[in-house]
């Protein structure tokens, strides 16, 4: 893959990769940094990327690696994210829905998003890889160097913990 190909990856998969970075880092400024660092690293490694395979999975692998390194460095000085900073005013639901439905769904999404941030990284990563980066179970397994069955069980555990958290907040699942 060449730098020009990487340019195309930005266009084709930039949104998916940025969304993944955004969920991981919990704020826009860090997401910007992680997104740019991911492509910088990809540029260094682009000769190893086969564009006929899945460059998006390769970029997600890089982003996840950089993020894991950063949380190792920051361990111990992270603070719990305040509720109010969760959405940064972004709409998580369709504007075509009735306002009350939209509001409820937004609240649910914010709650779920907050709960996800409290998951352990090993449960959070496959969750975001699956739902945000839209990678297959086998692609996630390859990135995390674990069997597909382990990915499935981590996703299942992540969902169970999220369900439990929702129940604590008054939802019945």
């Amino acid at each position: 893959m060449t730098y020009e190909d990487l340019h195309d990856v930005v266009l084709l998969h930039g949104k998916s990769i940025y969304s993944f970075c955004r969920h991981l880092t919990e704020n826009a400024a860090d997401a910007d940094d992680l997104y740019q660092e991911t492509f910088l690293k990809a540029a260094e490694l682009c000769h190893k990327i086969n564009k006929s395979q899945n460059p998006r999975a390769f970029l997600i692998r890089i982003a996840a690696g950089l993020w894991r390194n950063s949380i190792r460095k920051e361990a111990g000085r992270r603070k719990i994210l305040p509720f109010s900073s969760l959405s940064d005013g972004e709409e998580a639901v369709s504007p075509e829905q009735p306002p009350e439905t939209a509001l409820l769904q937004r609240e649910e999404s914010e709650l779920l998003s907050l709960c996800a941030k409290r998951l352990k990284p090993k449960l959070r990563l496959p969750l975001y890889m699956y739902y945000t980066a839209e990678l297959s179970l086998s692609e996630i397994a390859s990135i995390l160097h674990v069997p597909v069955g382990t990915v499935k069980s981590r996703l299942w555990r992540a969902k169970q913990e999220l369900k439990h958290d929702l129940e604590v907040h008054g939802y019945e699942t």
Partner: protein, 369 residues
């Protein structure tokens, strides 16, 4: 009262909450594109680290304290000698700006060693662009820890009154080469001639980030003056560049600023860009490989997988139906995957069946006009 969520609603909530719906800002992507283009054209890495003999490296570590105590750096000319030897003489010219400013911040020691113009060379050479400004910085660690070539640093001129994230080395035709000697990283970099801005306050910024970090510096909108952000979590040093105001050329400077973000001077040639392509155009221009058609069945997680081998390369994609057909409408999916010689397209029939197939384009970009 408890809100009830069925399994389907929970799954829908998961997909909605974690959907890839956040786009990077156009500024970030523009910076990336510019950087990738510049990297393709200019970047020259000289990794001398591996060439330092083990014994010399150990000796260097032992003598770290005294090395830093005397603030000894190579000269700008010596750095140029190792990267672009033809440029070395330019840093020795009377005209060259010998700064030798040293700053320490957040565990780093950074020195701006010198600045010159490619035009300062008496003899023209292909290796040096006479319309470029060249500068040398040295970056080291205060505790003597050797610098690492894998770490990213950003060094760039900034100009009073020009928004730093828009006008920096990435957009101003920049490039660099660097090497490490005695644990200190030396970077020689160039960008379009900044002497034309010499009637303004000019700066050189150095950060420990791969790109220009928007939070590292502030520009006063009224005065255009740029300052270091006190609360920036990282290296964010700003040196003043003492250029002779007599070298300013406000008219050329204005033309340059106007042209930098105006792509209309590139001629009449239309270069197709990927966002302008549509699945319909690909279908119209290419040839459908009938043997590649496959009806996709969602797996138990609702994901659709497709793979196809063409001319020795295997292509595979996995995506959810919601991703491919966000509005649920039948017909061609607006989402497709490009490869060297074609594209994978997705089509939804009236009965909801989703088919994927490969369209040969030969040279995919040339085929789309």
């Amino acid at each position: 009262m408890k809100h009830k969520l069925s399994q389907e609603q929970f799954e829908e909530l998961l997909r909605g909450t974690f959907a890839p719906d956040k786009s990077p800002s156009p500024e970030i992507n523009h910076t990336l594109f510019t950087w990738l283009e510049e990297k393709e054209l200019y970047r020259m890495e000289h990794k001398f680290v591996g060439k330092i003999p083990v014994l010399a490296a150990a000796f260097c570590l032992l003598l770290t304290v005294s090395v830093f105590a005397s603030w000894h750096f190579l000269s700008a000319s010596s750095v140029a000698e190792q990267s672009i030897p033809e440029l070395s003489a330019a840093f020795e010219q009377e005209d060259a700006t010998k700064v030798n400013a040293v700053r320490t911040q957040k565990g780093y020691i950074v020195s701006l060693l010198g600045l010159t113009s490619g035009a300062a060379l008496e003899n023209e050479t292909d290796a040096v662009d006479k319309n470029s400004t060249y500068a040398v910085v040295a970056i080291g660690k205060e505790d003597g820890t050797p610098m690492n070539m894998d770490d990213s640093y950003f060094a760039s001129p900034l100009i009073q009154g020009l928004t730093p994230w828009q006008y920096n080395i990435a957009s101003m035709g920049g490039g660099y080469s660097q090497f490490i000697e005695n644990g200190i990283l030396y970077r020689l970099f160039n960008c379009d001639d900044i002497e034309i801005f010499a009637d303004r306050k000019l700066y050189l910024c150095v950060t420990d980030t791969p790109f220009y970090p928007t939070e590292a510096f502030h520009m006063d909108e009224a005065t255009g003056l740029i300052t270091e952000a006190k609360d920036f979590d990282g290296l964010n040093i700003l040196f003043d560049l003492p250029l002779d105001p007599a070298k300013a050329d406000p008219e050329r400077a204005k033309q340059y600023v106007d042209s930098l973000w105006n792509d209309s001077d590139d001629g009449d040639e239309e270069i197709p860009s990927l966002p302008e392509m549509t699945a319909e155009e690909i279908l119209k221009k290419g040839t459908v490989v009938e043997s590649s058609r496959k009806v996709l069945t969602p797996d138990k997680d609702g994901m659709l997988s497709y793979s196809f081998s063409s001319k020795g390369s295997e292509m595979s994609e996995t995506a959810s139906e919601e991703f491919l057909f966000p509005d649920g409408a039948e017909g061609l999916s607006p989402t497709f995957s490009l490869s060297d010689n074609g594209a994978i397209l997705y089509e939804k029939a009236k009965d909801g069946t989703i088919t994927a197939f490969f369209v040969e384009l030969g040279n995919s970009l040339e085929a789309i006009d």
